[in-house]
């Protein structure tokens, strides 16, 4: 038995913890918190063992996945399996998801300690969530992945709505939860339809079978639709434009939930799906341009909304959206390059595409660390000051130094300051976006625009992150503060800040090769080729774009510093009655929520009212009308029974006459007489 054969334990352990915490959590210390932490830690250890086992096995050397299946569901002639599929991508997902979850669960002990009995529900639900995430990572086929995908969606719904009752803002919280579920559901529905097409084309949903037979079906007319529909699922789950609107609202949940689900893990599921489906996605380069464009647009679009937001969590949420856009952009560009590379047999393009793929994955991991750090830091702040409005904060640096400086590390990381992890991956992302233009490919100009957008986004990111930091931690205190958070909360912050600094450095080592191994596993014929880590680093520091981005970031930080720390330009000016038009549009989130409300109200409730009216008036009306007609007709006919015997005799005579008449007619027309 090899270690990796126990991979099924990885999702199973949190699942058991879910059951335990759910049923007997209130009888255990911390209301199930310890169970959940133990489960997450055990899952992490197990994931590490599995990864190690796989890394050292022959399968890894031969670029083959480890697959173990059992029959799950028979659909006609097709058998859908339930199993595990271990390659480097799954290992990475398992590792960072379980690791961050462990830290966040520990953090939750402190953050949620005042919630008493409700913690049982909390810890049960986050355990279930972890099951979903880890299950997603190890799934061996799309349907299984979809199952875990939806379980995460459910947990997201439940946890966003953690305060949707017995809470003064219950109504808003529950609407946010509902919105999150419904909007992601729209994506999920598309994804499911995409799965139908895949199943129809390939006769299987197994990764291995599909990737193995992709060559035979690559010209199927339905395949582009499948790709786009699957990407629809990504748009929903990873909150890309235009289904992004649920994520800012999802901040209604506890901050730990935002950190875990809506920053570090669940929203990465979409990214994971794109990465996992590379063999399929690379069959259609036009679709990949679309993917990249969505990613690039989301990046700048979301960043713009973060510029003037006063809610600390919302700022982070928009920043998450924006960073997710980066990842999608990188993966889209990478897939585009590989697609053209395999088509034209151009090894350089494949190399560049692989770099894009690596960039996307690396950014996903880095983002998980620094965004979790930022969210947890903001949680710590909220915990201390009891509000999410940054205008009520300020000067907290003195009172909660650990939080302040760990968050500063996070801000440096996301802003892309060298050495910090965000710098490496962001640069790679931008490089990947630039590559198609650089190589002069068909849609190069589109990618050029995306690259420029990415650059601007980098500037905006630096600005709004430091705006947040300065507003929160510098200047005069504007509200009361409990002081530094307990150790259970600061400890995860410290750990995460270490990772936020260092996790980017893996690029210097074998990381690229390790990640691309997954691609080689799923696309053995594509000739995946990866540059050495140090070559990549060298390239980063020799490209002018790196310096441009760096300058932009520093300028952004500087502006934020002058506006919010030095108050050289008073941002209060924006808060006057005569706000600029753009400011108002952004504050209204580009009127997207209203539009959604209108559309869903009209398409949903409006039509429903119509249907209800038809149901009541037309259909049921017909039924009741018929019965009333019968009853009324009976009443009418009864009136014929007048009680006068002479009338009765007349009816008899009339009957005879009519019968005679009928006979006469029949007889005459029948040729009688």
């Amino acid at each position: 038995m090899e270690l990796y054969e126990f991979a099924w334990l990885v999702p199973l352990i949190p699942c058991i913890c879910f059951v335990l915490a759910g049923f007997i959590g209130h009888k255990t210390p911390q209301c199930g918190g310890l169970i959940a932490i133990a489960g997450a830690a055990a899952a992490f250890v197990m994931a590490a063992l599995v990864s190690y086992g796989y890394y050292t096995s022959d399968l890894y050397k031969a670029a083959e996945p480890f697959v173990q299946n059992m029959d799950w569901l028979v659909v006609g002639k097709i058998t859908i399996q339930f199993g595990i599929y271990i390659d480097t991508l799954s290992c990475i997902m398992m590792l960072f998801a379980s690791f961050i979850s462990t830290l966040i669960f520990i953090y939750s002990l402190g953050y949620m300690h005042d919630q008493e009995g409700r913690r049982r529900r909390y810890f049960a639900e986050v355990s279930l969530f972890l099951t979903g995430m880890l299950g997603l990572a190890v799934s061996s086929n799309y349907l299984e992945m979809f199952v875990f995908w939806e379980i995460m969606g459910l947990c997201s719904y439940l946890l966003i709505g953690f305060w949707s009752f017995n809470h003064e803002e219950a109504v808003e919280k529950s609407s946010a939860a509902k919105k999150a579920f419904l909007v992601t559901r729209l994506g999920d529905v598309c994804l499911m339809c995409g799965l139908f097409i895949l199943l129809y084309i390939f006769g299987s949903l197994d990764y291995q079978n599909i990737f193995g037979s992709i060559e035979a079906h690559k010209d199927d007319v339905l395949l582009p639709f499948a790709i786009l529909l699957m990407f629809g699922g990504v748009i929903g789950k990873s909150a890309q434009f235009p289904l992004h609107d649920w994520l800012p609202d999802a901040m209604a949940g506890p901050t730990t939930v935002s950190a875990l689900i809506h920053a570090a893990t669940m929203v990465k599921a979409g990214i994971y799906l794109v990465a996992r489906s590379y063999p399929i996605f690379t069959q259609c380069e036009e679709a990949m341009v679309f993917v990249a464009a969505i990613g690039g647009f989301t990046a700048i679009y979301a960043a713009s909304m973060a510029l003037n937001n006063m809610n600390i969590k919302r700022v982070l949420a928009y920043s998450t959206l924006s960073q997710l856009g980066y990842m999608v952009l990188a993966l889209g560009a990478g897939a585009y390059l590989i697609s053209l590379g395999t088509k034209n047999g151009d090894a350089n393009l494949i190399k560049l595409g692989t770099a894009g793929y690596i960039a996307g994955i690396l950014h996903m991991i880095n983002h998980a660390f620094f965004k979790a750090l930022l969210f947890l830091g903001s949680g710590s702040v909220i915990h201390a000051v009891g509000t999410e409005d940054m205008r009520m904060m300020g000067g907290l640096r003195k009172k909660m130094p650990i939080t302040a400086y760990t968050m500063l590390i996070g801000c440096f990381s996301i802003a892309g300051i060298p050495i910090f992890s965000g710098f490496w991956s962001k640069d790679l992302v931008l490089e990947a976006a630039f590559a198609p233009f650089h190589e002069g490919l068909g849609f190069g100009s589109v990618f050029c625009v995306l690259f420029v957008l990415g650059m601007i986004t980098a500037f905006m990111t630096a600005f709004y992150m430091f705006r947040m930091w300065f507003m929160t931690f510098t200047g005069e205190p504007r509200g009361h503060c409990h002081g530094e958070s307990p150790k259970t909360m600061t400890f995860p912050l410290l750990i995460l800040s270490v990772f936020a600094i260092l996790s980017g450095l893996v690029i210097m080592g074998n990381f690229g090769y390790y990640v691309a191994r997954s691609l080689k596993t799923s696309m053995p014929t594509a000739g995946i080729f990866v540059e050495k880590g140090m070559d990549v680093v060298k390239e980063i520091f020799t490209t002018p774009a790196t310096y441009v981005a760096l300058v932009l970031a520093i300028v952004g930080i500087a502006i934020a510093f002058f506006m919010y720390s030095k108050k050289a330009y008073d941002p209060e000016k924006f808060d006057q009655d005569k706000k600029p038009l753009y400011y108002r549009i952004v504050a209204k989130r580009y009127y997207f929520p209203e539009m959604y409300n209108q559309i869903s109200w009209k398409l949903g409730y409006g039509v429903a009212k119509g249907v209800e009216a038809i149901d009541k008036q037309l259909i049921d009306g017909t039924v009741n009308g018929l019965s009333n007609a019968v009853v009324g007709g009976g009443d009418g006919l009864a009136r014929v029974e007048t009680g006068y015997v002479r009338d009765y005799a007349a009816y008899v005579a009339l009957g005879v006459l009519i019968l005679m008449g009928i006979f006469a007619v029949i007889f005459i027309y029948g040729g009688g007489f």
Partner: protein, 100 residues
Amino acid sequence: MINMGFFLVLAAALFAIGLFGLLSNKRGIVSLMCIELMLNAANINFVTFASFKSDATGQVFVIMSIAVAAAEVAVGIALMLNAYKMKKTTEVDKLSTMRW
């Protein structure tokens, strides 16, 4: 030569008169008489056919029907009397409490 048609038309006319009487008259006893007319119209038919076909069956039938008619009238008058006893009237239009 008097042919069968005359008798049949007579019978039909008699029947029609009886029917008219039944429908137009509100006195019970007269109604009974009208019905007798109709029965007799049928009897005329029978006799006519029997005579023209030289077949005795029709005449037998008539004898039977006369007997039946007699019984009918006997019972009918008794019922009219009963009605008169109960309601102090034999006008059929007044006997209309049950309806609808």
